[in-house]
Symmetry: C2
């Protein structure tokens, strides 16, 4: 049971958009035991699409295609599919009704000629209704291979995958079991982990693979087991996770597939019935955003301030202007004062504060580019750390966010 993904669009090849659709499809297919063995991105060119379809179907049982289904002239996927399947486009009445309904509800304008064409589909295609947009999904077959075409708009593709594509694949194909287990660690480098767990890794059975996925001070370990005996796979994965925990348990944050350290913090705060606020200078709202993007953040996250300008630390937080004058705005003293002030103002139990210079030029604080101070206020007091991260702006901001979360997480574990 092999699948391949083809994403169509010049904008992917010239780097104007990042192909996040493939990652979503890969993850969802993987969960139901479909092995994605290749992702190919190609141009909106007929020959390229025809070649990619031919090649992918020579290797895989299922070919998923996204992109090139919009109402505009540069979208040629549907016409090319017709050529590949030696088929013609016909008007699908159900889709036309749906397109008209969407226009009436959200656009409040009469349907245009261009949009009516969204209801044209190859005559042999099974139409997959798209609840979130005008372009329908299509399920086609040739020589016992399945081809599924979906629009490239991410939330439309996601809806079609969940509502239509995954259930149909599960019904149609018998699949082996593929089980993934992800272990999120923090604060230890990839090679240090590799050395610590070398013996454990060597003892893994052949049917389990280990991968290291490092990112800005966090490393995800992923175990993948594949086979026909689901119980054996599960038991072997679980016993290996237990033995891994005995070696590096102190740096393991969690085992959920989409586990993040901010979700871990959320769980711990809810469990302890405690609350959090943040005061951000150099991180500029990114820490607050990392909590509030998750459902249920209001249970523990009261809010925060983004005190980007030096004066704003005085104006909105009430940090002592003399303190800033004495120690400069990027200092341990100011970071700690920010965390204590925001904790008091927002009546929380914990607070994170950041102040530093992400660059590219020296700012008010006159410290070396990449220097950051992080303070954590707790019910008992306050502590802080100084770091020099990098001379790359986005990297310094990202590392500051991750280090702040790690410091709070460790504090909550105590």
């Amino acid at each position: 049971m092999y699948a391949e993904i083809i994403t169509i669009g010049d904008e992917i090849l010239i780097g104007q958009i990042i192909d996040s659709n493939s990652a979503f499809m890969g993850k969802e297919l993987s969960k139901i035991g479909v092995d994605v063995c290749r992702i190919t991105s190609i141009k909106d060119e007929k020959e390229d699409i025809l070649n990619a379809l031919q090649e992918a179907s020579s290797r895989a049982d299922i070919v998923l295609i996204t992109g090139g289904l919009g109402p505009t002239k540069d979208d040629i996927t549907k016409h090319t599919l017709c050529e590949y399947f030696n088929d013609t486009l016909v008007l699908n009445k159900e889709v036309l009704v749906h397109v008209k309904e969407l226009f009436a509800k959200y656009i409040s304008a009469p349907i245009s000629e261009v949009n009516k064409q969204q209801a044209l589909v190859p005559s042999t295609a099974t139409v997959l209704m798209n609840q979130y947009g005008t372009a329908p999904g299509m399920w086609l077959e040739k020589n016992n291979k399945v081809f599924i075409s979906m629009p490239g708009v991410p939330y439309e593709m996601k809806g079609l995958m969940k509502d239509e594509v995954l259930p149909r694949i599960q019904k149609r194909f018998k699949r082996p079991y593929i089980i993934h287990k992800t272990i999120l660690t923090h604060g230890m480098g990839e090679s240090s982990i590799a050395e610590k767990i070398e013996d454990w890794e060597n003892d893994l059975p052949q049917f389990i693979k280990l991968a290291y996925l490092p990112s800005l001070g966090r490393v995800r370990l992923r175990l993948s087991a594949k086979g026909t005996d689901e119980k054996l796979l599960l038991d072997t994965i679980n016993s290996n996770v237990i033995s891994l925990d005995a070696i590096i348990g102190d740096v393991i944050v969690g085992y959920e597939e989409d586990q993040t350290i901010e979700k871990g913090i959320g769980k711990l705060l809810v469990k302890k019935n405690k609350t959090l606020s943040v005061a951000e200078s150099c991180t500029g709202g990114m820490i607050a955003h990392s909590f509030t993007i998750n459902e249920g953040a209001s249970a523990y996250f009261n809010g925060g301030v983004v005190t980007y300008a030096t004066q704003s630390k005085v104006d909105i937080l009430g940090v002592d202007a003399d303190l800033i004058k004495t120690y400069t705005v990027t200092s341990t003293e100011v970071a700690e004062a920010m965390s204590l002030k925001v904790k008091e103002k927002l009546k929380t139990d914990y607070a994170i504060a950041t102040t530093g210079n992400a660059g590219p030029t020296r700012g008010d604080g006159d410290v070396e580019v990449g220097t950051v101070f992080i303070a954590i206020a707790t019910p008992e007091g306050v502590f802080s750390e100084k770091h020099v991260f990098s001379n790359l702006r986005e990297r310094t901001i990202g590392k500051t966010v991750n280090k702040s979360l790690e410091l709070l997480y460790n504090e909550l574990l105590k």
Copy 2:
């Protein structure tokens, strides 16, 4: 002059990471006139890598490869390259010295055996020194085709591309001209634009292609011209941009490749010598982040508050508790009060405020999921809008950010 990109790693195929490296490489190659015609993502399997190398080099002149060069066992790219080139690994002394220096500077620990292996490279490879990490880049040739292997860590790959790969490609290959022009629009849908500019689009010469790149209420239009006469390409692109501006100039934000509406706002504020603050509830720090991720934001962005909990709107902004009680927390009145309060507290000329419910469940405000109020405070007063965006949390947050920025941008243009 064709290039292909191969990204290696199971984590890409099972969707654990999104392949953003390809987008960066595609963009940079495109800028120097190299046409990227395919991106292929494959597993960390020897056979898959060998096949992909063979196939890509049968079509392209340059093959760029990322991933699989780390110090751990699951990284097999280097060994597979040796097999493909019928070569052996040899110790490169310069790389070893560099790895030792990195360890001394950042890790403060003796270099491990695993990390020493980073200095092994195929004997016929030209080593590309990696200033940001331990794994070197490699430049190899076979049958007049160039193969470039880089680590998959994004900032290491980016450094190698800029320092080594792009200059070497420019020196080695004669390239045609490829010119891209991006036009960022706001507030008009893809199909409405398509209908408005239909005649203009039909009149474009054969060597210019147009693409539509829609995202949450913004549409980017991209013109791509390819040929040998640089002046002709530039002149034709420019004259078409001028005629496009005459048709939809009112929704065009800018023409820079990396233009965003927040950068446009920044420019306008700096030009007017005005400042901005934000008060975010449902957007939770994302608006502040969208400004502060850009260099130079401190010239106009004073700061903001993330008043996530209802009570925090009273505690830190001083919004009248009775007002919240009377109108509920998700209301025009509260949004406007938030914007005026933050503008006053942070002494700015403009302010954005958001309050709403991104879901998935009804919150304190008891409005329908997806309902959002956006207020803009200006030197003259305040105005606000109500929107019902969607029942998808991330989408509603993203749309709220974009709509807020659009409202402020239009205000600043007046």
